[in-house]
């Protein structure tokens, strides 16, 4: 099969983006000098160092928070809402104009395929700013109350799996509702956030409205604990989410958390099998499985399990794993050596616990962080690969006989972020969607996102929604 589908390499040119050897942070409208002992961010596909960014200490975080407060009090808060909206529209346009450059930069820094950054991430980023821009002067119609007011300064911490998209999810609604922000990108993927800072400059956004501080966990902690933050927004692991919830307890700070997931993808026997297989693949192999809402547990009805698995293995064999900048690549690099170790550990445990492992026969590049698409069958609900978030291209397959059994198994997790349903029968789809304890249910599709669609979890997947009318609530006092 692989001979039949042999493609010539089709790499995207790197020349559209210039990566400087070092960057500073973005505070009060200006880039600070970079520090010599900063963090080096590498290209996970080659392990080549890309650039260096500073680590924000308490003093730097203080400075950024003070800039955000000043901008809130003097410029952004008093500004007529329609004018605020126009800045966001401007930013959205600039993002579209520079979309090629941003897509390449994101793929370089994160390791995800250019096909995804170009066709999914960056268009959604621009849409988030465009969508929220339009809310700025219509907030009294958002249904949160007659006279909603901004909260003030938002401290925002985002992960490495969708660096620029997660920035957009945090920054666009915060600015549209009249707040100012201090945002910390993940330590392994800071570059597109700093490119975004340059776009804020180009849009003439008033200094201090958006501040980007770089660093790792300690910087994030300083930000979330900062006494002058009115709002903390975090996307990341459930463990860190718990810690933030504990430190925010008893303060006046508002909190939203987007945490882990262990999404179930339910395939009933009447599903359109070929479409379901495509949905299973995009559910778990999109973005190398570095997706909190990934469909990492496949629940397939016993009578069609064999057929589904045969087709699934055939489809996975045809996934192209490799150079993220190649336009034909489906699965890119694992974001970091640390994440690769974590995936490896859970996969080893899966084997030790008796699940049967199947791995695509793809050839992996010699350098960089790679993990082949992997499927575990014979998985039970007690297995760690069925309970814990792997956050990698690893699918666990369980079976069920009745719809009730499917629901019980799907809901048997402390998480509740996403789920999928595959059936051609409308009444069965609605019955299932009603019973799944998850914030997003994709029926006959998977991993679809839109600025207008609220996203967020039940149970230990966190609280609050991002996107849509519901997402505005997180940044408004009403």
């Amino acid at each position: 099969m692989s001979d039949l589908f042999d493609y010539a390499p089709a790499p995207e040119s790197r020349s559209v983006v210039e990566v400087k050897p070092e960057y500073g942070m973005f505070v009060d409208g200006a880039f600070t000098a970079s520090a010599e002992d900063g963090i080096v961010t590498v290209n996970p596909a080659t392990e080549e160092p890309l650039s260096r960014v500073p680590v924000a200490d308490a003093e730097a975080v203080d400075r950024a928070m003070a800039a955000a407060r000043r901008a809130y009090d003097t410029v952004w808060g008093p500004m007529p809402p329609a004018e605020r909206g126009k800045y966001l529209f401007r930013i959205s346009r600039l993002l579209q104009e520079r979309s090629r450059e941003l897509a390449v930069l994101e793929s370089l820094d994160n390791g995800k395929p250019i096909r995804e950054t170009r066709d999914v991430d960056i268009p959604l980023v621009a849409q988030h700013f465009f969508y929220h821009a339009g809310w700025a002067d219509k907030l009294e119609w958002a249904g949160v109350g007659p006279a909603p007011r901004p909260l003030g300064v938002a401290a925002q911490i985002i992960p490495w799996n969708f660096p620029l998209l997660m920035l957009a999810w945090k920054v666009a609604p915060a600015l549209a509702t009249g707040n100012t922000v201090v945002l910390k990108p993940a330590e392994t993927t800071p570059l597109t956030a700093l490119a975004f800072a340059a776009i804020c400059q180009e849009a003439d956004l008033p200094p201090g409205v958006v501040n980007i501080v770089t660093g790792a966990g300690e910087t994030g902690r300083l930000l979330a604990d900062h006494p002058d933050a009115d709002k903390v927004a975090f996307t990341g692991s459930t463990e860190v989410g718990r810690e933030i919830a504990r430190t925010v307890a008893g303060t006046r700070k508002r909190l939203t958390l987007e945490l882990g997931g262990k999404g179930a993808n339910l395939v009933y026997d009447d599903a359109a099998i070929d479409q379901a297989v495509e949905g299973i693949v995009s559910g778990i192999f999109f973005n190398q499985g570095h997706v909190c809402c990934a469909g990492s547990r496949l629940l397939v009805q016993e009578s069609v399990a064999e057929e589904v698995l045969d087709k699934l293995r055939g489809r996975i064999e045809r996934l192209r794993v490799g150079d993220p900048l190649d336009k034909n690549t489906d699965v890119g690099a694992i974001n970091s050596a640390e994440q690769l170790r974590r995936i490896q550990e859970l996969v080893d445990v899966g084997g030790e616990e008796g699940a049967e492992r199947w791995t695509a026969s793809c050839v992996l590049p010699e350098r960089g962080y790679w993990f082949p698409p992997t499927v575990f069958t014979g998985v039970t609900q007690a297995h760690r690969v069925a309970r814990e978030e792997v956050f990698g291209p690893v699918l666990s397959v369980l079976t069920f006989r009745t719809p009730d059994e499917a629901i019980t198994k799907a809901n048997n997790t402390p998480y509740g972020l996403s789920a999928g349903v595959w059936t051609e029968k409308g009444s069965r789809m609605l019955w299932t969607a009603q019973r799944l304890r998850a914030g997003v249910v994709w029926s006959n599709t998977f991993n679809k996102f839109d600025a207008a669609s609220p996203f967020g979890g039940y149970k230990e997947s966190g609280y609050g929604r991002e996107g849509g009318r519901h997402g505005l609530e997180a940044y408004l006092d009403a």
Binding site: G439, D450, S453, G462, H470
Partner: protein, 297 residues
């Protein structure tokens, strides 16, 4: 011989105040009770003093009632909430005397309070079948998808009733929770628990399924910590958790963080329970579920 004039013609039957768990009225498993006084310190009655084990039993009972209650139609939930108002009206004299004694209100004031509590049930009865329309909507996504967001109950809610307002405060925090389809464990006012037990008797005879509301009386200091840290509690209303000072609510919120339990913090200023309630409390105890489906033929 004739009987002494002071002997009553009939000895009154005093009421034993008990817990309300799973639709039944058990004593505390700890077999304890505690004396309840009116505002002047005169003894009114003994109330059951619930234990940590009673908290756990109440959570189990609330959990088992979630599936049935949340699956009812909004119309049916509204009917039952209205029935609660009807049953309270029928027993208003008892409520008036209990509120007057325990909150130190004049008969006139207590009457107003009871009327407001009854009217609050009527208010929420009308919300039950409108919540989805008000809090949910289709989403205008950029593609051929049906995309719909709707509120769903969060599940089991731990409710700390406002201690200073044992009836109207209690109804104001309890009604929105169950209107949205949640079930709950309520810790009644420690000092004035009697109206809560009488309300439980009303709920028990209002077609409300057993376990939807569970009422515990006892020492807040003993009951709130296990309720807040219970892993099977999905959300907490800490409005009433300020008796022991602000630190109490902070401790409870911190305990709730371990299982990412949703928390409604006590307000910075005391709530005016006579004011119109708005929609904020309803919104706090629902999750938004968004369903996508492709459009095509």
């Amino acid at each position: 011989m004739r009987e002494p004039e002071t002997a009553p013609r009939r000895l009154s039957v005093r009421k034993t105040y008990k817990l309300y768990v799973g639709g039944a009225f058990p004593r505390s498993e700890s077999a304890r009770s505690y004396p309840v006084s009116d505002v002047s310190g005169a003894h009114l009655a003994n109330a059951a003093q619930a234990s940590r084990k009673d908290v756990r039993d109440a959570v189990v009972s609330a959990r088992s009632a979630v599936a049935g209650w949340s699956a009812r139609t909004g119309y049916n939930r509204g009917q039952i909430l209205y029935r609660v108002a009807e049953m309270m009206e029928g027993r208003r004299d008892q409520f008036v005397s209990e509120v007057a004694a325990s909150a130190g209100e004049s008969p006139q004031e207590a009457g107003d309070t009871v009327s407001a509590a009854i009217d609050r049930w009527v208010h929420y009865a009308g919300w039950a079948d409108k919540l989805t329309q008000v809090l949910g909507n289709p989403n205008e996504v950029a593609g051929p998808y049906y995309n719909q967001s709707a509120p769903e109950p969060v599940g089991v809610v731990g409710v700390v009733a406002p201690p200073e307002d044992p009836l109207l405060g209690l109804v104001s925090v309890l009604a929105p929770v169950i209107t949205a389809g949640n079930t709950c464990v309520v810790v009644a006012s420690e000092r004035a628990p009697l109206p809560a037990v009488t309300l439980a008797e009303v709920l028990a005879t209002s077609d409300l399924p057993g376990g939807v509301v569970n009422v515990l009386t006892g020492r807040a200091g003993e009951l709130l910590a296990p309720l807040a840290s219970h892993a099977d509690v999905d959300a907490l209303d800490l409005t009433g958790a300020t008796t022991g000072g602000r630190e109490e609510a902070v401790e409870l919120e911190r305990a709730a963080a371990s299982t990412l339990t949703r928390v409604l913090r006590p307000g910075a200023t005391p709530t005016d329970w006579h004011a119109a309630p708005g929609v904020a409390r309803l919104r706090r105890f629902v999750e938004t579920k968004t369903v996508w489906h492709p459009i095509g033929v």
